[in-house]
Amino acid sequence: MNDHAVSRPAPAARVYADALAEGQFRIQRCRACGSAIFYPRELCPECGAGELDWFAPSGRGTVHATTTVRRKPEAGGDYNVALIDLEEGPRLMSRVEGIAAEAVRIGLPVQARVAVTEGEGLLLFDAVASNNAGESDHE
């Protein structure tokens, strides 16, 4: 450890992973320009500023793009990979659970959930029951 290490902030990726391992989904917001940021970074990709604050997003999101990855049943069967637009703006990759992979549609409202397994957190999304699924794609 050198002289500066005491005041050195933990890297964002570490902070994110540690929170996730505790079951908490936290993302960053830029103090300078207000952009919500995902994935965790050391500087704001919008404006380049370095002061980023952590906050808990609502967890509400919408499926922006989706694919069913085909896999043999004996290997676990098909599964979903999706890009989710968070209500706060950022887009991220995740998996929608709770409905069949092929039933995941663009525009589907989803809610974040953190699954913790053996001390590691994984961000997942569940389909939100809704009568107007597919009409919430505000683009």
Binding site: Y39, H64, A65, L83
Partner: protein, 393 residues
């Protein structure tokens, strides 16, 4: 340097030699063996010797210090070296630094070269993917187990279908058109007849992309030699002039792509067109990196051959098939000619062969111009080249 000064580079350099080697299956050959054989033949094609080569551009998907290995293996003393590695577009992107080095007098003959034994290598591609996840982790995508790069392109395709009504049959038409061209090319790896129904019925890998929506996995080496235009005119082959070049990178991971339906080819294409003083309507052919069928639609749109969202209808009308209004991927493309890991150099070589009039049964009638679109990563890096015959100067 602004576009006005870049346009002064228009036509100042030319591709004087090209070659491929071991394309398809080349059991027993290493990446370097394939590269070296292609390099030797490209240099000979240019009417030069390896001792004349004093500039090198190369990239490898495996080795991190690849240019040193190539210098050593070929026994060259390069005064200009560019090892930029931005995936499959690299060998199209190498054009601009090579042109600048030639114009500055840093070197006199640049060899751009590549080789991949990915099909027959004893190094299993699954092992490579596993090692890559350790060496180059993507912790916000890999845990969800997308099949990379395929699932990333599938996500982009899903969005294109959602926004514009693009259909799987229209995507399949891209594969069928590529196959129709491949049937005219004795060097193509897959030449059997292919129908839209066969593509639709082929094995789904990651919706909406089937195995036939995906490029082949083949071996192959490719190389070209770039020199100043006045020297090219004294060499044996008809010079193919570089009229425009542009490169743009907007993201690495598909989850960070700003708009899944618009690629950085829009920017790289604008740069290349501006430098060349030409537009899409001036292009006699397009060699578009078709890693997956969605690529061709995106690049036709982003390079201005049709409006955004109309790529599907454009190909369904038969425009890109042999005999159509726009010859696209005339060798059969990555989908049917072959795909040795990074295809950009092979798209460039096909454009040169067409512009020289050496393309045999698949020859485009008296072409003067060609646009080449290199793609890398997950639609991440885009590099555009506009090439032309002496008539375009």
């Amino acid at each position: 340097m602004n576009n006005a000064s870049l346009s002064q580079l228009r036509g100042k350099t030319a591709i004087a030699g090209v070659a491929t080697f071991g394309c398809g299956e080349a059991p027993g050959y290493s990446d370097m063996d394939l590269l070296a054989n292609a390099a030797r033949r490209a240099v000979a094609d240019a009417g030069l010797t390896m001792n004349d080569i004093d500039g090198l551009c190369t990239a490898s998907v495996l080795a991190t210090m690849w240019p040193m290995e190539v210098v050593e293996h070929l026994g060259i003393n390069a005064r200009f070296i560019d090892g930029t590695m931005i995936g499959g577009s690299s060998f199209v992107a190498h054009l601009m630094p090579a042109m600048l080095a030639l114009e500055a007098g840093q070197c006199d003959a640049v060899l751009v070269c590549y080789g991949s034994a990915q099909r027959t290598s004893t190094l299993n591609r699954k092992e490579v993917a596993k090692a890559r996840r350790r060496m180059d982790p993507q912790p916000y995508e890999h845990p969800y187990e997308p099949i990379l790069p395929l699932s990333a392109y599938a996500l982009a395709a899903s969005r294109h279908m959602h926004e514009f009504g693009t259909t799987r049959a229209q995507l399949a038409e891209v594969a069928v058109s590529a196959r129709e061209w491949a049937r005219l090319n004795p060097d193509a790896f897959m030449r059997d007849p292919l129908t839209v129904d066969q593509v639709l019925a082929s094995r789904m890998v990651s919706d909406p992309l089937t195995v036939r929506d995906s490029c082949l996995v083949t071996d192959g080496g490719g190389a070209y030699v770039l020199v100043r235009a006045e020297r090219a005119r004294d060499l044996p082959r008809p010079p193919v002039y570089v009229l425009g070049s542009g490169t743009a990178v907007w993201h690495r991971q598909i989850s960070s792509m700003p708009d899944l339906t618009v690629t950085a080819a829009r920017q790289s294409g604008e740069q290349a067109y501006a430098m060349a003083g030409l537009a899409a309507a001036d292009m006699d052919m397009a060699q578009l990196y078709d890693a997956f069928t969605i690529n061709t639609l995106l690049f036709l749109e982003d390079l201005g051959f049709c409006a955004k969202g109309e790529g599907g209808a454009f190909v369904a009308d038969g425009h890109i098939r042999p005999g159509g209004s726009l010859p696209v991927n005339t060798n059969g493309g990555g989908l049917s000619w072959g795909h040795p890991g990074m295809y950009g150099i092979f798209a460039t070589i096909e454009a040169v062969r067409q512009l020289r009039g050496e393309a045999g049964d698949r020859q485009v009638a008296a072409p003067a111009t060609a646009i080449v679109q290199g793609n890398g990563g997950t639609l991440s890096s885009q590099s555009t080249a506009i090439l032309g015959t002496g008539d375009t100067l």
